[in-house]
Amino acid sequence: MKKALGVLIICAALAVSLCLPVTSQADGVIKIGAMATLEGPFAVLGQDGMRGVKLALQQWNYTVAGKKIKLYTMSTDATPDSATRAARKLVEQDKVDIVIGPLSGSEGIAVKDYAHTQPQVTFFNGISAAQDTTLRNPAPNFFRFTGDGVQFMAGVGEYVVQVKGYKKIVTVAEDYSFAYTNVMGFLLGYCKAGGKVVKRFWVPVGNKDYSTIVASIPDDIDAIFVALGGSDAVNFLSQYEQAGGDKPMVGGTVTIDQSVLSSKGRRKTYMIGTPSGSAMADNLDTPSWKKFVAEYKAAFPKGFPSPSVFAWGYYVSTVACLTALDKVNGDLSNNHKAFRETLSKIELQTPSGVVRLDENRQAIADMFITEVAERPDGVLYSKVVKVVPQVNQTLGMDRKEFLALGPVGRNNPPCN
């Protein structure tokens, strides 16, 4: 009996020592927590995102305004639940001052919801691009320096109709919120410019066998708009090509990305010339972009041939954070008041142009219409064909009018 008591006392003592929060709110250290999908099918995307965070921190030499920066990382599995858990751990256990992340749309909404409850922490979006993260019920301490899925496609619809002459199109996209958003962004411009959607295929996420979809695509169309990510995109493209499909393609943001372009296997010559829209492009001809790519390659020889949109997004967010910290001289007092005010007004120079924030702390930034091109060594990349300057979340529409379009969904916009 005494033994049992002894064991329990030891356990209790151990538990107490464990439970004490890490109380080193010591001066001279700023704690940043970063979260991304480091496990499961999306691990490769999350890893590249983390590279973006680390690259920015390296550029600042892990010091800002004389204070050391300590980085805490947490993994999610792309589900909102895991994002909430990761954010809680970073905020409540590691006691970070700043959170950077997450990666995917539904995660972003979950972290924004959580941000409402933690006014003493400032949140920077990673690369998640759901509209409602900032459009509806935004959190005062949640900042997004990257576009959302609609912004990414700004101008692509008009470009496709006017320049490429694609008047009839079908869409093939994954059946979830980010793809809805991406498709909406494309169709808003496309339909306004007079394009017609013949059919929309919503494919379950993770579907690999597209042969039946390929067979269902009608013959009398001009192009296919494909908003699939990762290996789903690779599968669709190769199956479409193998089955003898010859209609040109228009790509969604994550479809024309290094995570797809650099996949191993038969080169998809078919993809060359595919237009798409994104907040960045592989061949931007600006010094700051070239510097970013060079430093990315130097720091991560095992990374992609060129930083993916995930590395870029996390990088931009981290740079925004560090730049503002510099400006306020590391002052995070009074619930980050000065820091946040600076962030709201900042004109951030990023590798892809100037970014400002709107009243919901959502980025107003340059967007790029790109086409896929091939480097002499056979590596595919996205080439800028047009810059759409300073796109805001409502694509220039009146906020009320834009909100009246309603939340994203399978049939929004109707495009009749």
Binding site: M1, L8, C19, Q47, D77, T79, P80, R88, E92, I109
Partner: protein, 333 residues
Amino acid sequence: MRGSNAQVIRGTSQADVLWHVLVFVFLLVYPWIASPFWTVQIGAQSLILGMIALSLTFLAGYGGMVSLAQVSVAGCAGYTVAVLGVNSFNMGLGWPWLAAVILAIVIATLFGTLIGAISVQTTGIYTIMITLAIAVGFYYFARQNYNILNGWNGFAGLKPPVIGGVNWRDPVPFYYLSLAVVAVAYFVVVYLRRSTFGLSLQGIRDNDRRMQALGFNVRAHRILAYTVAALIASFGGVLMIWLNGRISPGSIGIGPTIDILVIAVIGGLGHPVGAFIGAVLFTLLENFAIDLIASERFNLLIGAVFLAIVLFSPDGLLGLWQKLRQWTAPATH
């Protein structure tokens, strides 16, 4: 997976009672010595995961039926609360919380019973496969259904009510709420072990054909066991969504499904307390494995711990503990 070397079945001993009292006192004091993170994120989370795992321990340990659909049952309860009550997507029916919770538990329990009715057609290893397939089917359904379940996004903004001026989502009240529910479930399961129903379940586990030859309707008993387990899991499910503040298909996917199995097995199916031991270890690993080995390979650690336990101690940590005690205890006879 069960049984000890003890030849004589003994009743509840004084030592057992003392242990229970000590642990319970510790659990009561815990939030006063722990930070809010440890209270909720580790404490309440372990309790709730343990509760869902407890429903599996009850099914598997007493009844010999390993169901992987317990997370689906919990998710069914969670989803029902989200749909009937208030959520931040404005898709809720806005029912009062009590009505929503009661109906959620009723629906989830019926759902669990239905799963039972389907899967008791088969036994042993077949049950694992069938319940796994049901769980995945439910996951896909939730993911694809936007009209009621809001598809991929699920629901957010789910909160326990404010009653008597206490916000039950504050760390300490929520911890005590979870503890109270879990304690009731735990003692009910412990009590059931020696009840007529519990005994008959153990009889079915050991030898279903013989139970039939004694006049028991084995099928009905098995289905009822699923009902009881579903009741436990659905309470766990309601607490779970209050903890996370949200539910989505990811909450009921294959990952969480396997997690619950891992928790129950790591702890040990031999006694209801195993579910909670497993849950504490799992929660700690989930939160701190990434700190322990700084690399990105923390899933390897979780897998290795799990594999080591099933390879070397089939009865889980509980079995390890018993072995250790037999080892260190002086030979008495």
